[in-house]
Amino acid sequence: MNRNRSRRLTYAMWIAIAIYIGIAIYVFWHFGFTKLPPPPI
């Protein structure tokens, strides 16, 4: 594979991984922290 193309693909995949972690944080915030029952006070 062309070296530049390989490098671009690598960057793209790192961005995809970062986006996935971002989605995970959002999902946990959306469902976990705000909608599921809070701990008793």
Partner: protein
């Protein structure tokens, strides 16, 4: 095990070819301690030995008499929970075989595409091995499914009559897809290397989609038992539709269908990946020639990565699933999160944490030699940090939220300040991040350098991959049990009870289900290994990399 396969490569300093087996001892000790504390301390103090039939006795009094047992209850001579144990064994073992297809189809598709794109022999070899493995074990999965149906009819006739009637059309689709699925997988294997690549991809996509929709068809039934589409079962006139079309749609496309479906796919992918890693490790030990050692070392790593991909997807899908249960069957949610079945979730998340730790240890040990050679001490230290942080996250996740009562908010219970869900959400997020970054580092940073190292598998990484295979499989059948016991003492929640009342309590008690898990896993692993021995293609010569 010292395995200097594939020629002499001088071991760099700092590297021990055995690896650090103390880490493996630590993982096994943590697993043993966790199980002992869970069974000896947490389960009794959370009312886990008390049946849901007893706890929900008042609810059962309101069950419609037409859905109670109409015929004498068929016992199976395994005690009061005998029927449930029978079904648990058959269906959980069925899951281990059925998930070979649901998860394996995607791994197989990736191998077909990689083979087409790179023409490296190992992709074709592993793809053919997996295809033949799944062809042969298809009948085992189908046999357990058919046996399960027979047992449902015999042991729970009222439920079976109602359930199979409501889900006639999805079950018909499922039955037809059995034929389509075996056509695709059999043809895929038989025509490997004999037809053009595009047709091969078509067959692999057809296989993956047919098993996906087959699972969707059966999931309409399975999810509908937990969150039924209607408050009761009301039949109409005879005909193609036994009730109004809109009612059928409510039953089939009930609130937990999609989260269950997607969670199942991710879990199956993870399970299959870790299982392939386990089998690859056994082949690695079984084979003595260097080309085979290199190949199975690579196959194990390939499986671990797939296992990790499925694993990091599950917490997100699982949270969606839990929220759906919370919104639409709140009592079932309290059963498994703040009630007497919460120990099952603790067990599941405990094993998941240990799996992430194990995978971290695998990468620490497996890539140690490579990282030392490349001088990448930063990655080496990062992997070590991941293992430690994952262990800390695991310690947070296995904290019981309370002790000393059946329900978390019962008077007099002790609330564990470390058991708050807020902390657990953060701990799960940390595990997801660790798993995802490990995938990135191994696939993107080390990819080009790994090939020179295949065959130099240390004993510690070999054992870590084996443990990952066992934990990855165990988790899948724990998940099945969690869903079933969340529903107890109902078959269709709040509509059809488990017949027999207090004489036949459900769910299957903790010790009995442990025995069922061990027998199911032992049986499945034995079948997988002996099948794998005759379905695996080994390299006949050194592959040019």
């Amino acid at each position: 095990m010292t395995t200097p396969a594939g020629g002499a490569s001088s071991a760099p300093d700092e590297h021990d070819s055995r690896g650090d087996t103390r880490k493996i001892v630590g993982i096994l000790a943590a697993l043993a301690i966790f199980i002992i504390v869970l069974y000896g301390y947490i389960i009794p103090l959370q009312g886990g030995f008390i049946s849901s039939t007893a706890i929900r006795a008042d609810d059962l009094l309101g069950a419609d008499p037409q859905f109670e047992a109409q015929m004498p209850i068929q016992e199976v001579d395994l005690g009061a929970s005998g029927r449930s144990i029978f079904i648990a064994f058959v269906m959980l073992t069925h899951i281990l075989f059925a998930n070979l297809h649901l998860g394996g189809a995607w791994m197989l598709l990736s191998l077909v595409i990689l083979d087409l794109a790179s023409r490296k022999e190992r992709y074709a070899r592993l793809g053919m091995s997996l295809a033949l493995f799944n062809v042969i074990l298809f009948s085992a999965g189908a046999t357990f499914a058919a046996a399960g149906v027979l047992f449902f009819i015999s042991l729970y006739p009222t439920f079976a009559a109602q359930g199979f009637h409501i889900y006639w059309w999805p079950l018909l689709v499922e039955a037809i897809l059995f034929g389509i699925e075996i056509f695709f997988i059999y043809t895929l294997w038989f025509t490997w290397g004999r037809i053009r690549g595009a047709w091969h991809v078509f067959l692999a996509v057809g296989y993956a989609l047919s098993i996906y929709f087959q699972t969707l068809a059966i999931d309409t039934f399975v999810s509908g038992m937990l969150t039924p589409g209607e408050k009761t079962i009301t039949w109409g006139a005879p005909g193609l539709l036994g009730m109004p079309w809109i009612d059928y749609l409510q039953w089939w496309f009930n609130p937990t269908l999609w989260p269950l479906q997607f969670h199942r796919v991710a879990a199956a992918v993870s399970y299959f990946g870790f299982l392939i890693a386990l089998l690859a490790m056994l082949h690695f030990r079984d084979r003595t020639d260097p080309p085979s050692k290199k190949y199975w070392d690579w196959a194990g790593s390939f499986g671990i990565l797939w296992g990790l991909v499925g694993l990091v997807a599950q917490p997100l899908l699982g949270l969606w699933y839990m929220y759906s249960i919370f919104s639409h069957q709140n009592q079932a949610f309290t059963n498994i999160m703040t009630g007497p079945r919460a120990w099952e979730m603790l067990m599941m998340i405990g094993l998941l944490s240990l799996l992430i730790v194990t995978v971290s240890v695998y990468f620490i040990e497996r890539r140690e030699r490579l990282l030392v050679r490349l001088g990448r001490h930063d990655i080496r230290n990062l992997f070590r940090a991941f293992a430690i942080v994952a262990a800390v996250a695991g310690l947070v996740l296995v904290q019981p939220a309370w002790l000393g009562g059946i329900m978390q908010f019962d008077p007099g219970t002790w609330a564990n300040p470390l058991g708050l869900m807020y902390y657990k959400h953060i701990a799960i997020l940390v595990l997801v991040a660790i798993g995802t970054i490990i995938i990135g580092i191994d696939l993107l940073v080390l990819r080009e350098h790994r090939d020179k190292e295949w065959g130099n598998l240390s004993r510690a990484s070999w054992m870590a991959a084996l443990i990952a295979g066992v934990l990855g499989s165990w988790i899948v059948i724990i998940m099945g049990y969690v869903r079933e016991s969340a529903r107890s003492p109902w078959l269709f929640y709040n509509i059809i009870p488990v017949p027999g009342g207090q004489t036949y309590p459900t769910p299957v008690p903790p010790f009995q289900i442990f025995v069922v898990w061990m027998i199911g896993l032992g049986l499945a692993f034995a079948v997988f290994w002996f099948t794998s021995r005759v379905t695996s293609y080994h390299p006949e010569r050194e592959e040019e990399v």
